[in-house]
C-alpha cells in the first residue's frame, strides 16, 4: 500500500513540476534541501510559563482521553504535543523533575477484559512514557476530571491517588521506588488536597474535612477532623480550588470564597467572604463552569461567572471572569469574555494570561491584567474540562 502510494505521489510531483517548473526555477537557482526522516520534535525539559496542559475528557470516546500541551502566548503552532490519558485520566505535571504523571485506566480488550489502573510517567522532553506504577484493586476513581484526584506530597516524591468504588480510599505511591506504599480508607470523604510536608486532607460529606499526616513509610498517622464548614445543601464548595502557595481558595455555588491553609499538618479554615454582586444578574451572578477559579502568581483570583445563576446552574459555564483580591476581599475588576466559557486558568508568568476554554474545544486567551482579548486557539481538544498552567 505504502509503496503504491509513494509511486502515485512521485508521479503527481513530476506532473506538477512539468507544469510549474519553467517559469519559477530561474528565480530559485537552488532547490529546497532534502529533509531527513524520521524526524520527531522534542520539547524543552522545563516548559515556558506560557504553556498550559489542557485535559481532554474526550467524552465521545472515554477510553481515549488525552492532554494537549499548548503554548497560549505563541502566534502559531500553539499545540506542542499530546499525552494520552485513558478513561477519566488525570494529569499532574511535576515541578521538581522533567516528568508528567498521568493516572489512567485500561481494559485488556479496550472495553472489556482485565482492568489495569496505572500511573504512567511521561518524559516532559520527548513526551514518551518512561515508566509506570500499577495501582492495585481496580479502584481508581473514575469521574469527570478533577485535579484533586491525583496529587503530590512529600516534596513530589510521592503521589496520592483517590479511589472510589463507591467506598473512598487513597493510595500512596512512592514515585522513586515505583511502588505502592499504602492504602488508606476514607469513609465519607472525597479527593486529596496535599497538606503539610507529608499528608493530605479530604473534604467530607458531613461538611467537615479530615487531615491525615503520613509517616515515613506512607502509613496514616495523626488524623484531625475539622468543624463543619461546607454547607453542601445550600452553598456547596466547588471541589477544585485556586492555589496561592499552600493556601487554597475555593469558590462556592452562590459566589462566596473560602480560604483553607494546607501548609500545616492539619488544614486550617481561613473563613469565607462574599463577592459583592453587581446588578445585572438574571436572576443572579454565580460561579459557573467546571474549573471556575484560578490564581495568578501575584495571588489574584479569577472566578468564571454566569449571569443566569440559580440552583442547578453551577456547570453552565460563564461569560465574565471576575478578578478578586482575597487579601482585601474585594472585587478588583471584571473581564468580559468574548465567548461562553467552560473553564479558566491563569498562566504563572509575571504578566499573566487568562485562558478560557470553550465547549467546542478551543481556547480564548486574554491579558489577565487588562482583560484585552489576545487570540483564539482552535482545535486544541474535544472536551476541555481542566487546565494546568506550567510552573
Amino acid at each position: 500500500m505504502r509503496r503504491a502510494a509513494s509511486r502515485i505521489a512521485i508521479a503527481m510531483t513530476i506532473a506538477a513540476l512539468h507544469v510549474a517548473a519553467p517559469a519559477i526555477a530561474a528565480d530559485y537557482p537552488q532547490p529546497l534541501p532534502e529533509e531527513p526522516v524520521p524526524a520527531v520534535a522534542v520539547l524543552p525539559e522545563k516548559y515556558p510559563e506560557s504553556w498550559v496542559f489542557v485535559h481532554d475528557l474526550h467524552f465521545n470516546s472515554l477510553p481515549d482521553g488525552r492532554v494537549a500541551v499548548v503554548d497560549v502566548a505563541a502566534e502559531n503552532r500553539n499545540v506542542k504535543g499530546q499525552i494520552p490519558a485513558a478513561q477519566f485520566g488525570n494529569v499532574l505535571p511535576a515541578t521538581t523533575r522533567p516528568e508528567i504523571l498521568v493516572g489512567e485506566t485500561f481494559f485488556s480488550r479496550l472495553t472489556r477484559g482485565e482492568r489495569t489502573d496505572v500511573i504512567t510517567i511521561w518524559d516532559a522532553k520527548t513526551l514518551s512514557p518512561k515508566g509506570e506504577i500499577v495501582l492495585p484493586g481496580g479502584k481508581r476513581g473514575l469521574f469527570v476530571t478533577l485535579k484533586n484526584s491525583l496529587q503530590f506530597t512529600n516534596n513530589e516524591k510521592w503521589a496520592l491517588v483517590f479511589n472510589f468504588t463507591p467506598g473512598s480510599s487513597v493510595t500512596v505511591v512512592d514515585l522513586d521506588a515505583r511502588k505502592v506504599l499504602s492504602d488508606i480508607d476514607l469513609p465519607g470523604c472525597s479527593l486529596v488536597y496535599p497538606t503539610g510536608p507529608r499528608g493530605f486532607t479530604s473534604l467530607c460529606a458531613d461538611g467537615t474535612m479530615t487531615s491525615i499526616a503520613l509517616d515515613a513509610a506512607g502509613r496514616a498517622g495523626p488524623t484531625v477532623t475539622s468543624k463543619v464548614f461546607n454547607d453542601i445543601d445550600k452553598d456547596a464548595l466547588f471541589m477544585s480550588p485556586a492555589m496561592v502557595g499552600r493556601t487554597a481558595w475555593f469558590a462556592s455555588f452562590t459566589g462566596n470564597i473560602r480560604g483553607i491553609d494546607f501548609s500545616g499538618a492539619a488544614a486550617r479554615d481561613l473563613g469565607m467572604f462574599e463577592i459583592a454582586k453587581p446588578a445585572g444578574g438574571d436572576p443572579e451572578w454565580r460561579p459557573g463552569g467546571w474549573q471556575v477559579i484560578t490564581a495568578d502568581k501575584a495571588g489574584l483570583l479569577y472566578v468564571l461567572m454566569n449571569p443566569h445563576g440559580k440552583e442547578g446552574s453551577h456547570k453552565d459555564g460563564g461569560t465574565e471572569a471576575w478578578v478578586i483580591d482575597p487579601v482585601k476581599k474585594a472585587l478588583v475588576r471584571r473581564i468580559a469574555l468574548k465567548n461562553h466559557s467552560v473553564s479558566i486558568e491563569a498562566t504563572q508568568q509575571a504578566s499573566p494570561l487568562l485562558v478560557a476554554s470553550k465547549p467546542d474545544g478551543s481556547l480564548d486567551v486574554y491579558d489577565a491584567a487588562t482583560g484585552a482579548f489576545q487570540r483564539t486557539i482552535v482545535g486544541v481538544v474535544h472536551d476541555p474540562m481542566t487546565m494546568t498552567a506550567a510552573r
Binding site: S61, L62, T111, R115, L142, F164, S190, I232, G312, D316
Partner: protein, 184 residues
C-alpha cells in the same frame, strides 16, 4: 424527610431482594441513596449549555402514555432533570432500559423530578449502562440538585459503572424508582 428515608429503605430492600448476584453492592448503593437529601426539583429546563443539551435531532420517541409525556430523545424530557451523559434512548435502549449487550450499573445517583402530567415528584435513578464505549449520541447534562463529588450520591459527574463487569461507560437511563412524596 423521614418519609423519604423510609421510602429509600423500602426501595433498598426491594432492589436487594431482586438482584441476588450483586446484592451487597446494591445494598451499598441503596444505603447511599437512603442517606441523600431529596429536594423536589423544578423540571423542563431545556439547556444548550457548556456541557451539552442541544436538541438531539433524533426522530421523537414518546411512550404513548399521556401520563408520561415528552420525547425521550430530548434533554428536556421530565425524567432527565439531574442526568449527565448520553441518553440511552438514542443508543439502542430507552429511558428505562440499557442498550443490548451492555450491563446496567446496580448503584447510581438519584434525582427527584416532577412529572408535568400528574404533578407528582418521582425519585429517578440514573443507572449507567456499561461495557461498551461512549455512545456519543444525545449528550445531556442537567444539574438540578446536583452536588459536588464530596456528596457522591448526589453527583452526576461520577462514572457509575461500579460493580459491573466493565467500568466502561456507554449511556445513562432515568428509571422511575417510585413517588418521592407520600400523598395524603
Amino acid at each position: 424527610m423521614s418519609h423519604l428515608d423510609s421510602f429509600a429503605e423500602r426501595m433498598t430492600r426491594k432492589v436487594a431482594r431482586s438482584t441476588s448476584r450483586r446484592s451487597l453492592l446494591t445494598l451499598i448503593g441503596g444505603a447511599i441513596t437512603g442517606a441523600a437529601t431529596l429536594p423536589v426539583l423544578p423540571v423542563s429546563r431545556a439547556q444548550a449549555q457548556s456541557h451539552g443539551g442541544t436538541p438531539s435531532g433524533m426522530a421523537p420517541q414518546t411512550t404513548g402514555n399521556p401520563q408520561d409525556p415528552g420525547d425521550q430523545t430530548q434533554c428536556d424530557y421530565w425524567r432527565y432533570c439531574a442526568i449527565d451523559g448520553f441518553l440511552c434512548s438514542c443508543c439502542g435502549g430507552s429511558a428505562s432500559t440499557c442498550p443490548p449487550g451492555t450491563e446496567m450499573s446496580p448503584i447510581t445517583w438519584i434525582g427527584t423530578c416532577r412529572n408535568p402530567a400528574d404533578n407528582r415528584a418521582y425519585i429517578i435513578s440514573y443507572n449507567d449502562c456499561c461495557g461498551k464505549s461512549s455512545c456519543g449520541n444525545c449528550l445531556c447534562n442537567r444539574n438540578d440538585g446536583d452536588r459536588p463529588m464530596v456528596r457522591p450520591q448526589a453527583n452526576n459527574d461520577i462514572n457509575w459503572c461500579l460493580g459491573t463487569e466493565s467500568a466502561i461507560y456507554n449511556c445513562s437511563t432515568a428509571v422511575i424508582l417510585g413517588v418521592a412524596v407520600d400523598e395524603k
